[in-house]
């Protein structure tokens, strides 16, 4: 028996099992849309070629002081939603409020037209959960994002997942305290990093150290993400910062996947 023969069949089996698992877990199937980063290095890691529609994605700051960066990452992702469809943002977190209120001109600076944004501010976490689920189920906004501060138990997070799956739109949850969402399909941890400079020494883009800690049917990883001011596009930091990080990320990813 040639040694190469079993490996394709094993790959087939694994692929087959993956497909079954997808169906059993109720995960979005292949061919479903995804919110692409426009970066092959990242999109290749994600099963839908981006953040899957009909799923919950969690974004948390690495540290409380990184919250503005995590919020910026969230807005930059929302800006990538196609067409001029409305987007809804639920804000209830006191921690985020400590860093200020959304500012339209700054949001425009992240490439997101503030006119698309509907802001919903609630007094407590229960109302925020209700508003988030209602917004997802209404299928009015093209995407829903929520900054939820309180504890999110399994039942509440399952409700959100079911709502997102039924409505087939992405639900992005910003967790200012860093507590995890049990049903999240992807979990991102964002930390601020010194920005990129142009040849005049001016800041030409933000940089975030983005860690994909968990990803169903995908591979976790760690990247130094850049966000360009002028083009409003994601990019990967040049080899200067990348070499060690990318390597470290890959090994870490393998370790976790195994």
């Amino acid at each position: 028996m040639p040694p190469a023969a079993p490996s394709p069949s094993r790959a087939e089996i694994v692929a087959d099992l993956r497909r079954h698992l997808v169906r059993m877990e109720g995960m979005p199937a292949d061919g479903e849309d995804g919110l692409s980063f426009g970066l092959s290095a990242l999109d290749a890691r994600l099963p839908q070629g981006g953040l899957a529609f009909g799923a919950v994605h969690e974004i948390a700051p690495a540290n409380e002081a990184d919250l503005p960066s995590a919020f910026g990452f969230l807005l930059a992702l929302l800006a990538r939603m196609p067409e001029r469809s409305p987007l809804l943002l639920v804000l209830s977190s006191k921690k985020l409020a400590r860093f200020g209120r959304p500012h339209g001109h700054g949001i425009a600076g992240l490439g997101l037209d503030p006119a698309r944004l509907i802001l919903v501010e609630t007094a407590d976490e229960t109302e925020a959960l209700w508003a988030t689920e209602e917004a997802v189920r209404a299928r009015g906004p093209a995407a829903v994002a929520a900054a939820l501060g309180g504890r999110l138990d399994l039942k509440a997070s399952q409700r959100l997942l079911h709502a997102a799956r039924d409505a087939r739109l992405p639900l992005l949850l910003l967790r200012p305290g860093g507590e995890s969402v049990p049903t999240a399909t992807t979990r991102w941890r964002i930390a601020a990093a010194p920005g990129t400079r142009d040849r005049f020494g001016m800041l030409s883009g933000w940089r975030w150290q983005a860690t994909l800690q968990r990803c169903r049917n995908g591979r976790p990883g760690e990247w130094m993400l850049e966000f360009d001011h002028a083009t409003h596009r994601f990019g990967l930091a040049a080899a200067v910062a990348g070499a060690s990080l990318a390597g470290g990320g890959a090994t870490q990813a393998l370790g976790r996947a195994g």
């Binding site: 919250l67 807005l75 500012h103 425009a108 109302e127 209700w130 601020a192 010194p194 001011h229």
Partner: protein, 504 residues
């Protein structure tokens, strides 16, 4: 000097008043005077305006309570709100009418009760059930109705056109005049209203305030009498009285849906939709509960309205008291706006329009449950001053946002109030080197700026000093928006620094 008050305190004020014995209300002055009395007190010869000391001297045992005009007005307003179940146009008596009753404009509303006499009978029966003795009169003018109810028989209906005839026999007090005017009229021997009707006007106009002829004209229907209505009458209103009182949420919503269905043909005929609705729930015991429901866009859909009412009820569950149930419900359109005719064909309905429609429905729902202020959009304002450069709007606005400039960056998170920071700079007008903010020290790795922002020319430099904004990045890569207030050496001696926002 407050002996009577002290006596009042010795006797617990909660002791019930015997309605058959003389009972008076007094004002709270040092020499209290009687402001109101019951029939028994009237029978024993007391009158409004007499001092309490005199009254006590005349009749030994007198029940006294302090008058509470504010509470009286409140109670009267509550009662008037209850009376809106008969007609939406209800006006409280004002000063000249005695502040102890209200007018109902029953025009076009009497048939709902089965006629004028049935309306009065129904009103009398219910008021009696509340334990309120009342005198009712129905006439073409408010003045005549008032005079008849106060000085003629109770529950009288004055046929249209017979006002002058009816008023002739009544005393001049029936015109709601000032006491001095009445006194002068009586001294002149003009005791009945009939003495004034048909007389030459010039002598009266010369000798009396305009009040006299105005009131006479109003009572006779020659001059219109403006009434200060409790709530402006809505254009569209539907009311249903129920055989059995209801108290469950589902029943309320079912009735409200039917009320909205009653309104739809009239709205459709006018090409209008409702932007704002008021649901009034009339409780069996006379209390009225009101729900206000607002919509982003005009609507005619009973289902949509029902859903909004359900959300509102859920929100108000704690404040809504059903008691023994609600016997009458009325739904009024308080704001109606023209509505574009709906497309009934499927072919033309685009996906985007449908999405926008779903968004509107969602926003309405969120507003009912979370409160109208909780959902908003951002709109740009033409101002460079960061605090004034945007505003919150209820409806999506049309204005387009100016394109972002990388030369003057703006943070996505702006602090509602700039927070002072301790900053070290090499030169007074130089960029910051180190800053302490919220108890934390940041070493500045990169500072970009300054971007000088001055307030509009019509604001003085003292109120709003010029600001020099810097984008500052610390060693961990966290980016702050920082400004120095005042130009050092020109506007201020020692510049102060503030943190104003966070960059991503």
């Amino acid at each position: 000097m407050h002996r009577w008050l002290a006596a009042e305190q010795r006797k617990p004020s909660g002791a019930p008043v015997d309605p058959r014995a003389p009972f008076v209300l007094t004002d709270g002055s040092d020499a209290p005077r009687i402001t109101a009395l019951n029939p028994a007190a009237q029978a024993s010869g007391l009158a409004v305006g007499e001092t309490l000391a005199d009254a006590r001297a005349r009749i030994g045992a007198l029940q006294v309570r302090l008058a509470e005009p504010a509470a009286d007005t409140k109670a009267l307003t509550r009662l008037a709100q209850w009376a809106t179940r008969y007609t939406p146009s209800v006006a409280l008596f004002r000063e000249e009418s005695g502040t102890d009753g209200f007018f109902l404009d029953a025009t076009g509303a009497t048939h709902l009760q089965g006629g004028e006499d049935k309306l009065l009978a129904n009103l009398a029966r219910r008021l009696h059930a509340f334990g309120l003795p009342a005198r009712l009169a129905l006439a073409e003018t408010a003045g005549t109705a008032w005079a008849v109810s106060h000085f003629a028989r109770d529950r009288a209906i004055v046929p249209a056109g017979t006002e002058a005839e009816t008023l002739t026999r009544l005393p001049v007090e029936g015109l709601r005049l000032l006491p001095e005017t009445t006194l002068t009229l009586r001294r002149l021997g003009l005791k009945r209203i009939g003495d004034l009707i048909g007389k030459p006007r010039a002598p009266f106009a010369a000798r009396f305030e305009t009040e006299l002829l105005l009131r006479l004209d109003r009572a006779l229907g020659i001059a219109p009498e403006p009434l200060a209505l409790l709530t402006p009458p809505p254009v569209y209103i539907a009311t249903r009285s129920l055989l059995e009182p209801i108290d469950s949420e589902d029943a309320i919503i079912a009735v409200a849906t039917r009320l909205m269905q009653d309104l739809v043909p009239r709205l459709e005929a006018d090409g209008a939709g409702t932007r704002s609705l008021r649901l009034s729930l009339y409780r069996v015991d006379g209390a009225v509960q009101r729900l206000n429901v607002g919509c982003t866009l005009p609507t005619q859909s009973p289902d949509h309205v029902a859903r909004l009412i359900r959300l509102k009820l859920e929100r108000l569950a704690r404040h809504l008291e059903a008691g023994f149930g609600f016997e009458t419900l009325s739904l009024a359109v308080t704001v109606a706006e023209p509505m574009k005719p709906r497309q009934h064909t499927l072919a033309t309905a685009s996906e985007e329009a449908e999405r926008a429609q779903r968004c509107t429905v969602l926003l309405d729902a969120l507003r009912q449950r979370l409160g109208p202020q909780s959902v908003h959009h951002l709109a740009p304002v033409a101002s460079h001053w960061p605090e004034r450069s945007e505003t919150l709007t209820v409806t999506p606005h049309e204005a387009t946002w100016p394109p972002a400039h990388s030369a003057c960056p703006r943070p996505p998170l702006l602090l509602p109030r700039a927070e002072p920071a301790e900053v070290m700079a090499l030169m007074p007008d130089g960029p910051p080197l180190r800053l302490r903010w919220r108890g934390r020290l940041h070493a500045v790795r990169h500072a970009q700026g300054p971007e000088r922002i001055a307030a509009e020319w019509w604001r003085t430099a003292r109120d709003a000093p010029t600001r020099d904004y810097y984008l500052v990045e610390d060693e961990a890569g966290r980016r702050l928006w920082l400004y120095r207030e005042g130009i050092p050496g020109r506007e201020t001696a020692a510049a102060r620094w503030f943190v104003h926002g966070m960059f991503a």
